[in-house]
């Protein structure tokens, strides 16, 4: 196969980027999209040109590190991760435009690499159950209905790749945040901090500069792990419930 690639090149966060066009005529339909870029890079290095930088790691669709906005869609034409996208999904002679995720909260680091640490900070704001190691009850002490466990697992399957943000016209992170909020809101282990958690995580999400949700379902349509927007509705509920009904007790430290 022969392809024309239009790739965003940007030296670093401070410099201005631009599209560069490459003709790639060593493409096999069995290559994954990232392998296609590997081969391109191998050729570039041999020619003494700087290779295209892109994030990737596990290459089996689970680590969430690969990104790439391919021909107008995050992770390309299929609802999967870029590493699981194969060149047989493209036609010989096609022009492919490859851009980084675009969002104020995801600044470009270099070429197609973006900084997604905003996701980490949102999780740090409350995406956990406050238990220390040891001193926890037996795993079977609290029964969890199978349907609840399954629904929590559906939400927990999120790989944090950021395709939802990339797909959303508002660069909103609601699908990502709601998946995490849902997992803990559903499970009994998440109950003690349920209200504070959603409040803090939403506040951090806003702090990072993600947009609002217009319920366009673009995120759900692109999510490689099929996270549903029912999670967003659940997060909204959780948020209102927290804001309207949270306890009035203010914690004021230990006794004297």
């Amino acid at each position: 196969m022969k392809l024309t690639l239009k790739i965003w090149r940007q030296k670093n966060n401070n410099s201005k980027g631009e599209f560069k066009t490459y003709v790639h005529d060593h493409v096999s339909p069995d290559m994954s999209f990232l392998e296609m870029l590997d081969v391109l890079n191998e050729g570039l290095v041999k020619k003494g040109e700087e290779p295209v930088h892109f994030d990737h790691d596990c290459r089996e669709g689970i680590c969430g590190m690969c990104s790439l906005y391919i021909n107008g869609r995050p992770h390309g034409p299929l609802q999967t991760t870029t590493c699981q996208l194969h060149m047989r999904s493209f036609k010989d002679g096609e022009t492919i435009t490859i851009e980084p995720w675009r969002a104020a909260a995801f600044p470009v680091v270099k070429d197609l690499v973006v900084d997604r640490s905003a996701f980490d900070r949102i999780q740090q704001a409350g995406g956990y159950v406050s238990v220390n190691t040891g001193g926890v009850p037996d795993g079977n002490a609290i029964p969890v209905p199978k349907k609840v466990a399954d629904e929590a697992m559906d939400a927990a399957a999120c790989i944090g790749c950021g395709a939802c943000v990339a797909a959303c016209k508002n660069a909103s992170a609601m699908l990502f945040v709601s998946a995490k909020v849902s997992q803990y809101a559903l499970l009994p282990q998440g109950q003690p901090e349920r209200k504070e958690r959603v409040e803090k995580m939403v506040a951090q999400m806003d702090e990072e500069g993600f947009g609002a949700c217009t319920n366009t379902k673009a995120c759900e349509a692109e999510c490689p792990k099929s996270i549903k927007i029912t999670n967003i509705a659940r997060m909204n509920r959780e948020y209102y419930s927290s804001m309207f009904t949270n306890y009035e007790v203010t914690v004021s430290g230990g006794g004297d």
Partner: protein
């Protein structure tokens, strides 16, 4: 002594946070959407009444029934008070919507070169701002035609205008009819997404009730704008006279 200081300390410590939660709620992205959803649903309820009363023209009784109810709506003190809420609802929905457009644009300062969204996401859901802006333009024209002259006249003379006659006059102009029909089409698309979207924003998304919400939303988005659009058409084509 200690307890007085303790009380004062506690009072000053907690006082500034009093109602803080509310401002936090309405300034958060979710809270802003909550306002859009609530005002949107309120405006939808207004549409039902507006549409029902205006549909009285189809009785073709020379506007008797229509004028009767129009008079009621224009003079009943309860309705007049509620009207203030309606104006506020419009203004809040419009301004919040514009602010959200601004915020959402700022969230992606660099646009994509190529955009080809998945067909699972509808164009009109992604164009609520555009449809809303069209509706705003329509609303300005529409209120300039009826509501503003009528209310100013009431304010100045205490007399209502003959809205039925005004309709017959205004919809004699084919250009206006076309603009009204276009306004109704924008309204249809806006409602087609907005109705369901309001429920989603309120967190009302449940397997058991989704199909009914979708059905009612779709029916509403088709029926109400259709009835509205038929009014100028019917008058222009002299079905109603």
């Amino acid at each position: 002594m200690r307890s007085i200081f303790g009380f004062l300390y506690k009072y000053f410590q907690t006082r500034p946070t009093y109602m803080n939660w509310f401002s936090q709620l309405i300034t958060s992205t979710i809270g802003k959407k909550l306002i859009m959803a609530l005002t949107g649903l309120f405006l939808i309820s207004f549409l039902i009444i507006h549409c029902t009363i205006n549909a009285m023209i189809f009785l073709n009784d020379g506007g008797v029934t229509f004028s009767h109810w129009g008079h009621f709506m224009g003079t009943n003190p309860v309705i007049r008070t509620l009207e203030i809420g309606l104006v506020a609802g419009f203004l809040i929905h419009i301004f919040q919507g514009l602010l959200l457009i601004k915020k959402n644009r700022d969230s992606r300062p660099v646009r994509y070169q190529v955009e080809a969204p998945s067909p699972k996401s509808t164009w009109y859901s992604r164009s609520m701002g555009l449809l809303g802006t069209l509706l705003l333009l329509f609303l300005i024209m529409h209120t300039a035609h009826f509501w503003i002259p009528n209310r100013s006249n009431q304010f100045a003379t205490g007399e209502e205008l003959n809205l039925y006659q005004m309709m017959l006059n205004i919809f004699a102009d084919p250009l206006i009819v076309i603009l009204y029909v276009l306004g109704c089409i924008s309204l249809a698309w806006h409602l087609l997404h907005g109705f369901w979207s309001a429920f989603q924003t309120l967190g009302l998304n449940h397997q058991r009730y989704n199909s009914i919400i979708h059905f009612v939303g779709t029916a509403f988005a088709i029926v109400v704008p259709l009835i509205f659009a038929l009014m100028p058409i019917a008058i222009y084509l002299n079905w109603v006279h």
